[in-house]
């Protein structure tokens, strides 16, 4: 149970980073932390105490493996997170070129 709680703390740190930080780069880092908390939670769901890695091989018993599906899903989710992070960083660099700052309180040409 403790480990789920730690995962929740990681989630809260990520959310704090997105909501409270004023620097674009720190917001992106907060988003990454949020994504990792999600992935960690998904892997934990499939974890089985003293289970072995879900690799099929000739010799070993298939029964005491951890659940492989969440690991596959997390791999997909990591790829998606990579794509979003790359896009966000390139947009942030372009914003820096246009505005000359990373501070979101100074980037407010849009309002209403």
């Amino acid at each position: 149970m403790t480990i789920y709680f730690l995962c929740f703390i990681l989630f809260c740190i990520g959310l704090y980073g997105i909501l409270r930080k004023r620097n674009l780069v720190k917001i992106i880092i907060g988003f990454s932390i949020l994504g990792y908390a999600m992935n960690l939670f998904m892997v934990l769901l499939g974890y089985r105490f003293q289970g072995r890695a879900p690799i099929d091989s000739n010799a070993q018993d298939i029964l005491n493996m951890v659940d492989p599906i969440p690991q596959g899903l997390v791999l997909t989710s990591i790829v998606i997170g990579l794509g979003i992070t790359a896009l966000l960083i390139s947009v942030a660099i372009r914003i820096y070129e246009k505005y000359g700052t990373f501070d979101i309180t100074k980037i407010k040409r849009l309002k209403g």
Binding site: D56, V79, S90, I93, Y96
Partner: protein, 149 residues
């Protein structure tokens, strides 16, 4: 070659990089080709291969030979990787169903087995490796244009 020691990182880093890039490349290829037997596969292998090139640029500076790869070529290769994956999936139509594994499955735990899965691993590896390298190149170029201003 003009003054080689000025650009990039120090001599130690360059020497180590020269030694280590080859093994990293081979390791990436290994991960990619054995993806259907052990952990790894196209994505992980592609990332490792891309990172070996990224390492070269980091160590030898922006003027290293690898960074002369044009973004055009990279994005073409990436699209070709995606199309290859789609073709592997479309190959299943020959057997009657999308994504159907129509090739000979072979003996389990041998390198040449599992039908179309190694092919899709290869195409994903191409797509991810080139794509990640292209992202890196694009960010480096963006950085470069900003400094020139």
């Amino acid at each position: 070659m003009k003054d080689d020691s000025k650009i990039g990182m120090s001599l130690i880093v360059k020497t180590i990089t020269r030694l280590i890039v080859g093994p990293i490349l081979i390791f990436g290829a290994y991960i990619m080709l054995r993806g259907h037997l052990s952990p790894g596969g196209g994505f992980a292998g592609g990332v490792i291969i891309a990172l070996s090139f990224v390492l070269l640029i980091l160590a030898f500076g922006r003027d290293a030979k690898v960074s002369k790869v044009s973004i055009n070529l990279a994005s073409n290769l990436e699209s070709i990787g995606a199309l290859m994956f789609l073709c592997v999936a479309l190959l299943g139509f020959l057997g009657g169903s999308f994504f159907l594994n129509i090739l000979n499955k072979g003996v389990p735990f041998k390198l040449f087995s599992a039908g179309t899965i190694p092919l899709s691993n290869l195409s994903i590896g191409l797509k991810v490796g080139v794509g990640l390298f292209a992202i890196f190149l694009a960010l480096v170029i963006l950085e470069g244009t900003k400094k020139n201003k």
